[in-house]
């Protein structure tokens, strides 16, 4: 029966080429616009580290002075160096890492290569297992190197290609700023999108090229970047251990919800203890957010992308209303034919199903063209200069969603016209014939 209706639908297309083409085009445009924007949203709002996103937690404390305090206020987005180093030392989580972004100059040994700058991350040993960096060669450093302010570095695959021609560079020296570092590991093209561990700079900008111990970076006074918020008297150096400035991201890995709850209690008692010691002035106000909560809180998806998604849906809605109207015209134009079929014994249900099959077929055709349009749309998005634009690709899941959306949308659009068509009374139609 379905095959027969499908055949009828194809015949009906041939009879009404312009009208059918119009409907297919409308659905295709709607699906194309909707899927392009939805894919960009899907890519940008995805889970950057699905296997662990519920185990990694971002720590927020509130070390500010009482001045300007408002009840219910969120704590600072980052922590002070003093707090980060204390939490790191106390080791209450399964794993923990403190970090900040920075920039270093790289002076290649090869004379033909001019010195250049590289993005850096100053962090502690657990960073590598926590964020599953993966290694092409070697590995991360240990807590011992952190303590010794060791001159060790992990470099990215691309930097390794540039400096060492892709060879295994573990054990070799790399000159950063004015000091020599020993390469201990080369990451395997590792990157996170969005770069959830530090959302201060380019959120979809890829991973740092150089990673080195935080203690070493302070020892050498390497330049840091990202945001810094200070209050009170900062003294000469805002990156000093005791400076009243927040500028460090602190992450804890907690394997189970129970551990997370215990860690929350720990942060509360830590805050209280700091308050008693006179360092904190505000009542305990700590937060522990896992990766997805943190991304949500930071509104990581650009507002324009969300706006575009709604625009895409609005466009699809108009296209659907348009299709409803055209389908209605198309079906009612065939009232005579439907009347004959009804008179010959076709049930209302049969008419309804036949009309829906026709609508669904239009949806499928619209979906195929719409898929082409969304591929074109995504290609256009990728031509944009923003760093997230490069990520806009259709995955198999979204491909399925495209077709499902096209067919569901066209079936929905077909409901009303099909219902109207099935109401056609055979007698009246036959009379006017």
């Amino acid at each position: 029966m379905f095959a027969y209706y499908f055949n009828l639908a194809l015949r009906s297309f041939k009879r009404n080429k312009a009208l059918t083409a119009l409907m297919v085009l409308a659905i295709a445009l709607g699906i194309g616009a909707c899927m392009t924007t939805l894919t960009v949203f899907h890519v940008l709002s995805g889970d950057p580290i699905p296997q662990k996103s519920d185990k990694l937690y971002f720590v927020q404390l509130d070390p500010r002075t009482r001045q300007g305090m408002q009840p219910g206020e969120e704590p600072e987005d980052q922590v002070t160096r003093f707090d980060a180093e204390t939490l790191l030392r106390e080791k209450r989580a399964d794993r923990q890492a403190m970090m900040t972004g920075g920039g270093v100059s790289v002076t290649p040994q090869r004379k033909e290569l001019a010195p250049f700058t590289a993005s850096a991350r100053y962090t502690s040993a657990d960073f590598f297992p926590m964020f599953e960096t993966g290694f092409l060669y070697g590995g991360g450093w240990s807590a011992k190197e952190d303590g010794n302010r060791a001159r060790v570095a992990v470099i990215s695959k691309s930097l390794n290609d540039k400096l060492f021609g892709g060879a295994n560079s573990v054990g070799r020296q790399v000159r950063l700023d004015q000091a020599d570092f020993t390469v201990v590991g080369v990451t395997d093209g590792w990157k996170m999108n969005p770069r959830f561990y530090d959302l201060n700079s380019d959120r979809y900008g890829g991973a740092e090229e150089v990673l080195l111990p935080f203690s070493t970076s302070r020892d050498l006074e390497m330049s840091r970047n990202g945001s810094m918020n200070c209050w009170g008297n900062t003294g000469a150096d805002a990156t000093d251990l005791n400076a009243p400035c927040v500028w460090i991201q602190y992450w804890a890995e907690l394997g189970t919800p129970a551990k997370a709850a215990a860690y929350r209690d720990y942060l509360a008692s830590y805050s209280e203890q700091q308050r008693k010691a006179g360092r904190y002035e505000r009542p305990a106000n700590a937060r522990l957010r896992n990766v997805m909560d943190w991304l949500d809180y930071q509104r990581v998806v650009p507002g324009d992308v969300i706006l575009q998604m709604w625009l895409g849906f609005g466009f699809l809605l108009v296209c659907l209303v348009n299709t409803v109207g055209l389908l209605l015209a198309k079906f009612l134009r065939r009232s005579g034919e439907i009347g004959v079929r009804r008179a010959l014994g076709a049930s209302r249900r049969a008419i309804f199903v036949q009309c829906l099959v026709e609508a669904g077929t239009i949806g499928m055709a619209g979906g195929i063209i719409g898929l082409g349009l969304s591929l074109l749309g995504l290609w256009l998005v990728r031509q944009q200069p923003s760093s997230y634009a490069k990520l806009a690709h259709l995955d198999p899941g979204m491909l399925l969603v495209t077709f499902a959306l096209a067919i569901v949308a066209s079936l929905l659009a077909g409901l009303l016209p099909a219902w109207r068509a099935m109401q056609v009374t055979p007698a009246v139609q036959l009379k006017t014939q």
């Binding site: 009208l19 119009l22 085009l25 409308a26 445009l29 709607g30 616009a33 001045q67 300007g68 408002q70 920039g103 100059s105 002076t107 001019a114 010195p115 250049f116 700058t117 700023d177 004015q178 000091a179 700079s201 050498l220 006074e221 390497m222 330049s223 970047n225 008297n233 003294g235 000469a236 507002g303 324009d304 969300i306 706006l307 575009q308 625009l311 609005g314 466009f315 809605l317 108009v318 296209c319 209303v321 348009n322 409803v324 109207g325 055209l326 209605l328 015209a329 198309k330 009612l332 134009r333 944009q384 200069p385 923003s386 009303l416 109207r420 006017t432 014939q433």
Partner: protein
């Protein structure tokens, strides 16, 4: 023109008529808001920066692993840059407009104020800034030579210096002291010492879009001479035609002064290029909105054509009867055009309510400004015209129905 028979016909085709009304309403709502957003973006892209953009170049340079003699080298660099043929002037800044990072500080009007009144950006400048950037001083005076301190002194806790004077933008003055002349007034920003406003410049935007469009010109200029390693920005003024040549010479001159530095090629360029890249996203969003608008209008027009054609076909006999009874072609044409006008009007009325509601939603979710009311009549006219154009084809076909058709069976 008789409207009553049209209305009664429409009432007999409620579903189809309602669909056209809904489609026009949705299109109207989306288009009014989209046009408004396009206008908003264009306004941002075309904002006045306050600096002589066409004549300015930026060179960003950083030292390899710190520089103890940065201050002396900065003086040498500036002398070399100013000596390049074609250079009108050169200066050093901690930050420049049209980049994505910035130095900001809260501003309080009273010493004991708990929370800052607003957040403004802080430019640190040397004494050539006014001439190099091409800023227009509209009130008060520029800094006096004795007011300048160096960034080293500023960072040194033992130097015991405070920032006593500042030049601000007109917009910041209006925000801090509405309706008053800000010159001579004091505020508190860094530490407990007051800073006195000595001058007002017409415009100067902040580097990044932090704080949104309304805070674009919350800008303070401080007489703190930065050395090149504070932000690393040399800004050079030249004639527009000589920019490429001067930029090359400037990089060569800076390299000649010290080889322990890296010129950041990606951020070393003309201010026109910086601005273009800074507003790239806004521009592409405006284009996207424009394309969606055109697409929506096209779809709506095609929908009207489709349904109107169907109507004409359905009413062929009725039209034939009217023609046989003496109606002219023009009357038939007018009938369909009036019908469309009525449908469009209903759609537009509904659409305006929707447009307003949509704007309320956008205002609450995306901090978009309120939709100015004049966008509504613009949207209305666009849709009326669109409807008339779309219906013209089918209406003409209706008008050409011969009266003889009345005598034939359908």
């Amino acid at each position: 023109m008789e409207i009553r028979p049209i209305l009664s016909t429409l009432l007999r085709h409620k579903t189809a008529a309602a669909l056209i009304v809904v489609e026009i309403a949705l299109t109207c709502a989306i288009i009014c808001n989209a046009l408004f957003m396009i206008g908003d973006r264009i306004q941002q892209v075309n904002e006045t920066s306050g600096i002589a953009e066409r004549e300015l170049l930026r060179v960003q340079i950083i030292s390899i692993g710190g520089d103890k003699n940065a201050a002396a080298l900065t003086a040498t660099d500036l002398a070399s840059l100013r000596a390049i043929p074609g250079v009108k002037d050169a200066t050093v800044l901690n930050q420049v407009p049209f980049v994505n990072s910035s130095w900001n500080s809260g501003i309080r009007l009273h010493r004991e104020q708990e929370r800052p009144t607003l957040n403004a950006t802080s430019y640190m400048v040397d004494d050539h800034y006014l001439n190099t950037l091409g800023l227009k001083l509209v009130a008060g005076r520029d800094f006096e030579p004795g007011e300048y301190i160096t960034s080293q002194q500023f960072d040194d806790p033992n130097a015991n210096v405070s920032i006593t004077s500042a030049v601000i933008t007109r917009k910041l003055g209006e925000a801090l002291f509405p309706g008053e002349n800000p010159v001579g007034k004091v505020y508190y920003s860094w530490g407990d010492e007051p800073t006195r406003i000595v001058g007002v410049v017409d415009h100067l935007v902040r580097p990044s879009s932090q704080g949104g469009p309304s805070a674009r010109e919350y800008t303070v200029i401080y007489p703190i001479r930065p050395s090149y390693d504070v932000g690393g920005n040399y800004v050079i003024r030249t004639e527009p035609a000589r920019r490429a040549e001067v930029l090359k010479a400037a990089i060569a001159a800076l390299r000649a002064n010290s080889n322990n530095r890296i010129v950041l090629e990606d951020s070393t360029k003309t201010f026109e290029e910086l601005r273009r890249e800074f507003y790239q996203n806004q521009r592409s969003m405006a284009w996207l909105l424009a394309i969606v608008c055109i697409g929506l209008l096209l779809i709506t027009a095609l929908g009207i054509i489709g349904l109107a054609s169907f109507w004409v076909q359905q009413r062929t006999r009725q039209i034939g009867v009217r023609r046989a009874l003496g109606a002219t072609r023009a009357q038939i044409l007018r009938y369909f055009q009036t019908e469309n006008f009525l449908l469009a009007t209903a759609g537009i009325a509904l659409g305006m309510l929707l447009a307003f509601g949509l704007n309320q939603l956008l205002m609450s979710k995306y901090e978009l400004p309120r939709l100015p009311l004049w966008y509504l009549p613009v949207g209305a006219v666009v849709l009326w015209v669109l409807g008339q154009i779309a219906v013209f084809g089918p209406a003409r076909r209706a008008a050409s129905v011969p009266p003889a058709i009345a005598t034939r069976s359908a």
